[in-house]
């Protein structure tokens, strides 16, 4: 099976986004969860254009 770089459900990985922050002073999970929530939505929009439109 061909290995692909792209991970389903991810456009802009949290690991990349996290590098923008010097520090996360509070609960990182809250920040990560919502970043990923909107990132997943963006991914679903992109692929809805592919498979649904």
């Amino acid at each position: 099976m061909q290995e692909s770089k792209s991970v389903p459900g991810v456009c802009f990985p949290w690991e990349e986004k996290k590098k923008e922050y010097a520090e996360i002073k509070g609960d990182e999970e809250v920040v990560k969860a919502w970043w990923e929530t909107y990132d997943v939505h963006a991914y679903v929009h992109l692929w809805f254009c592919v498979t649904g439109l």
Partner: protein, 400 residues
Amino acid sequence: MAKSMQELYEERMDRYWKANHLQKPDKVPFRPCAAELAGKIAGYTAQQVTHDPDLGLDAVVKMCQAVPGIDATVVNMVFVNTSVTESYGLKYYKVPGIDLDADDSFQYIEPQTEEDAFMKVEEYDRFIEDPNEFVMNVWLPRTSKYMVPPGEQNTWKNNLAWLKNGIAIQQYFQKLGANVARMQTETGTVSSLAGALKAPFDILADKFRGFRGIAYDLHRCPDKVLKATEAVAPHMAWNCIATADPSRKVPCSHWMHRGATGFFSEEVFEKFHWPTLKMVTEQIWEAGIQTIYYAEGKWARNLKHFRQLPEQSIIFHCDKDDIYEVKRVLGDRFAISGGVPNDMLAFGEPADVKKRVKQLITDFGPDGGYLLDAEAIMQQDVKVENFIAMAQACEEYGYI
């Protein structure tokens, strides 16, 4: 006392679930896939149901109210909303009321040349390396009049197109959800599917390379075609599961195109089409979701392959195949649907339809695992009286 909508809904859901799972429900479920036909019943033009998302969805509710006996149906069988696609400048549709008369069905325009293709033959490696990157940075911008790929000079129309894509599709998703709830509470009807799937080979053929392109590619770069199907398959499965029914009660749908026997040889099907389709279907099944194989065209030669799938993992919808042959080959493992020819619905009379429905129910009903539907998606050519006859015959003969 009349049943409440909730009781009616639960009764229909039970019936639908059992038939999908090879069981014998109290009645053969009527599960039509009505597209522009719903608009015809509701009094809306094809332009209205295609372009106006509120009327398009309203038409389905009105159809369920006007025609008693619909157990489950597709909330948006006119699956493209062209006001959404126009908002961000999508190029590949002929739109009813714009490019077409207000009563024509929307049409997909497949680019006919390598130059116009949304993915070029030399781009296989990029696609294979990262299909999501390709979709975001190459494919989607190419399909839009306004979008600009990374690296090129940006425009205000580009920025606005992405913003509108976000807004319009998000709103459309919410309207879909609200209308599924409306169908349930106002008409007691089950939304028959959630989550869409295309075979990896189909998506490559339909949306990226085009039929001509893929036909050549099978000869000039067969390994890349195969790798491309393998690269895109996880995205197909993931998206289908992510947008499926959270309760796992209703199946997702797989609209089947280029695996039909008229397009490619059995060898091509076996090597390029089937392996990733099988894998994706199994992943979806492992997530607890059945897939409707809506097999457009004729599939006879390839039917035997589907027996490799886990029992009950699919519902096989029969279009131009002999449904008796389909039942013989697949009926012990999977539910089947279909059986009423669209020609009969368009040109026949209610008596013809009732006779056909009675026959289908008599032959398939006693075993369970059968759902009544037309052969193909019902558009504006279907006579309303024939559709009503279908529903009535199912009510009349279906309790067996």
